[in-house]
Subunit: 503 residues, 2 copies
């Protein structure tokens, strides 16, 4: 089978990018990734940081053709895609700082000596790179969660070569990004096999099962992710599968917030759930609004706003069709009414929509993500109704709470949201995911299949494992665990010691 | 079915301890654990530390009856079991220090402000307890890896209530330990359901599948663990399964080390693999010794030592029978010779044994753990032969290297061992697992099913998940993330800041 670049605005094939990779192709690629791992796994942190920076430079140098290809393949628009490339380069450079900082290695030294339970040997622990990592590019972020995205950046920062299963929706973009990353890698003296691409669905399955692959990073659908996760678990040597799968991202508006700024909330909310044609894993798909006149004002304003909007071209024909199907399924659930719809802009640009239901009637298809520019407003009578509804929801990446100026966040609601999601937002919208040290992009199943994040500096932990060295001579230790080293924070005999430059 | 306490020295039933718990019993227990979680999950760190200390005190107060019951049920002897209880109490208290230290929360604050990719909201991240944890007690450490062991201590330190599936081999010990832990918990004001026990194999399966259980800690056999892991993966909401399953723990003796101290190595080695009747997950089951006269000296001395030894009573009749079966299977592999055997001391106390094979012929049953007082000596001609053999081995908890005084550890061997195991020992034996900050007890599959440890202070990470709070008012944040807090290390705007007392 061939892998074609398709124009989502017309459905026409732009060009053939590749053939599907065979199982043998995948085997060869993974063996090369393993060899690259052997070659680079013990190189100094400074080198690894330079590798990441060199990749960022190379991506930036190719910004124009990459953004052009990405727009041609995704219809997301040049402004959004330029921003995405900026974010991706920023992310690579922040991981470079993380590598230099060294705290992510969790270096720990316990000197030999007596303890309350007898003598203890000298023990020194730190995290080491796991091995080649498989990354599955996502359709909706061709630059931020695909070939050069968060999974790739964090795996490289951890010291792991990457094999990316290219998303069929943007193969040309993937190819251009892959070339830039390899050019950046070679400039810094890395083997060109430190980042490789494979094409085709069967190649993806073979990749997850390849004996040289040691972990999988995946962003995509619950069904696709669950199938790959089952393959990862069924291997003779099971490997961790870090899937970001599905999220409703509930938002709660308190009665006081609806009263204070219902119209403003309506406008911001519609802006958030229609951003990028609603194709964000953090799209707020479910909004809890109080019953009564203040809530009505909010919902009426949101409905007006939706009616004024036109559909935007979605990432591909399959996604547009799935969105239409999802909307129809939701509308058929008991008690659901379609409050407002915008204007359809052709087969590939379905109209945005706002649906409404009583919070008591949430369930069935309403408890599942619908990928695209829609949101369901769930009306709640009082806090108990709200809590009951929230407690029935599946896990999400984010959960939000909008309160009035000076209003104390209701503690039972807050506590319930904390058990539901990985990021709790106050008076904001989840669709932006800042790259930073404190970011967490993850959440209880089915939001993700992991207790780790795929965005932010701690994402490296997924691709590392600890080793403890017992009574090792200095020469046999990684430099970060030797006595004289002082360029990273370490826990020594139980006490955290900063690097000598105070970091 | 009834759960009986059995004397492993005679095979006689001592007393009936419990009935098997039904599925409904397990459901009720897990719901109570969930309620306990709700009650304690946000209590202050100081309280949680006191809980752990109070439990240690209660265990110590019951030391005599606990050790007596454990000896009656395991035949491990009073001295070893007293030491095990001391270790367990030490561990609880070291986790109390860990909780007070606060570093395990990974508290991180990124203030709002401009970045190279635009304005960033205020983001604050830390780890929170996951929820009720299921712990499967191990047969071979009735006190250190069972009801009050490392999984329980680290789950409680993380803030998670525990439900222990009692090992059938020591139900009375489990009951006594459970009572002591609950007494300690109640003294510190915790609900008595913070640690609960369930009995019976079916109850164990129900436990892994219970909707209120959020993670599983398991120490036991590869077959049993794999079956439970499949249940954990097949849940509607999959949960992490932290299994410690099987380990060969290879030891390499260099030619120079064999020449320098072959007889001493032989004596120490036999001491290590027969310790506790060889019933350690870290037992060195495979020892690489050079061919030639120096290696012969070592193997001859080990054989003499084995011949002088008697069998010790094993943990139960099933384990003794499995050991005999395993020995027979190994002896039937091509090229294997039984170099020496000790004296059988009855049905339940099989003789220790030393087997020998050419390193080129390692494979089949020789690549699997044989639980009991045996080791296989694999003779290697040169470094290449050794490396080839090592690269064919499955993952282990530990790998050891014995070199001569002043001999530089051979770098290719060291690098291969590092990819094989989670703890690398120099001139030592793996059978002691110190509880400390830098310890790592884990390793590549099938040693474990995780990238985390089950011993040492970082074991808490298995039972926690991150939450990021975005633009939260101070009152809505956990105290550890508020501006004024200074009693734990935090990363603030990318810079690690120690607690105000310098820790």
């Amino acid at each position: 089978m061939s892998v074609d670049s398709v124009d989502p605005r017309t459905g026409a094939v732009r060009r053939r990018v590749s053939e599907d990779d065979s199982e043998q192709d995948v085997r060869r690629v993974c063996a090369a990734a393993k060899a690259a791992y052997e070659e680079v796994r013990t190189r100094p942190r400074r080198w690894r940081a330079e590798l990441l920076r060199s990749m960022a430079d190379a991506l930036e140098a190719d910004c124009e053709p990459i953004v052009a290809a990405a727009d041609a393949e995704t219809a997301l628009g040049g402004a959004r895609l330029s921003g995405e490339l900026t974010r991706t380069c920023y992310q690579l450079r922040l991981f470079a700082e993380t590598v230099e900082d060294g705290g992510f290695l969790e270096a720990t030294i316990d000197h030999a000596g007596p303890t309350d339970m007898g003598p203890r040997p000298d023990l020194r622990r730190m995290l080491v790179p796991l091995g080649p990592v498989a990354v599955f590019g996502a359709s909706n972020f061709p630059l931020a969660f695909s070939v050069p995205g968060g999974d790739t950046a964090s795996a490289l920062a951890a010291g792991c070569p990457v094999v990316v299963k290219v998303h069929e929706s943007h193969p040309e973009t993937a190819e251009l990004c892959g070339r830039a990353l390899v050019r950046g890698a070679e400039r810094s003296g890395a083997p060109h096999t430190i980042v490789q691409l494979v094409f085709g669905r069967a190649a993806g399955a073979a990749l997850v099962q390849d004996p040289d692959i040691t972990a999988v990073g995946f962003t995509g659908s619950l069904d696709g992710g669950s199938a790959l996760m089952a393959l990862a678990n069924a291997r003779p040597t099971p490997i961790p599968f870090y899937g970001e799968l599905s999220s409703l991202n509930p938002l709660v508006v308190t009665a006081a917030a609806a009263r204070e700024r219902g119209e403003k909330l309506a406008a911001d909310l519609v802006g958030s759930f229609t951003l990028g044609a609603g194709q964000f894993c953090t799209k707020p798909g479910l909004v809890f609004v109080p019953t009564g006149p203040d809530g009505d004002t909010l919902v009426d304003a949101a409905a007006r706003e939706i009616r004024s909007r036109h559909g935007a071209v979605m990432l591909n024909a399959g996604i547009a069709a799935a969105y239409r199907r999802g909307l129809a399924e939701i509308a058929e659930e008991p008690g659901v009414s379609t409050r407002a719809a915008g204007t359809d802009a052709g087969e590939f640009a379905p109209a945005p929509a706002l649906l409404e239901v009583d919070a008591d009637q949430l369930g069935g298809r309403l408890g599942q993500e619908c990928f695209g520019p829609e949101a369901v407003v769930a009306r709640y009578r009082d806090e108990d109704t709200l809590l009951t509804a929230l407690r029935r929801l599946p896990g999400s990446l984010t959960a939000g709470l909008h309160v009035a100026e000076g209003e104390e966040p209701p503690s039972r609601v807050l506590s319930t949201l904390e058990q539901l999601a990985g990021r709790i937002l106050f008076n904001g919208y989840p669709t932006g995911v800042a790259v930073s040290w404190a970011q967490h992009h993850g959440g209880p199943w089915p939001a993700t299949s992991t207790l780790h994040t795929s965005v932010g500096m701690t994402a490296t932990r997924r691709f590392m494992r600890p080793i403890a060295w017992q009574d090792a001579p200095q020469s046999a230790l990684p430099v970060e665990l030797r006595d004289q080293t002082d360029d990273l924070p370490r826990r020594v005999d139980g006490v955290l010691v900063l690097a000598s430059d105070g970091r």
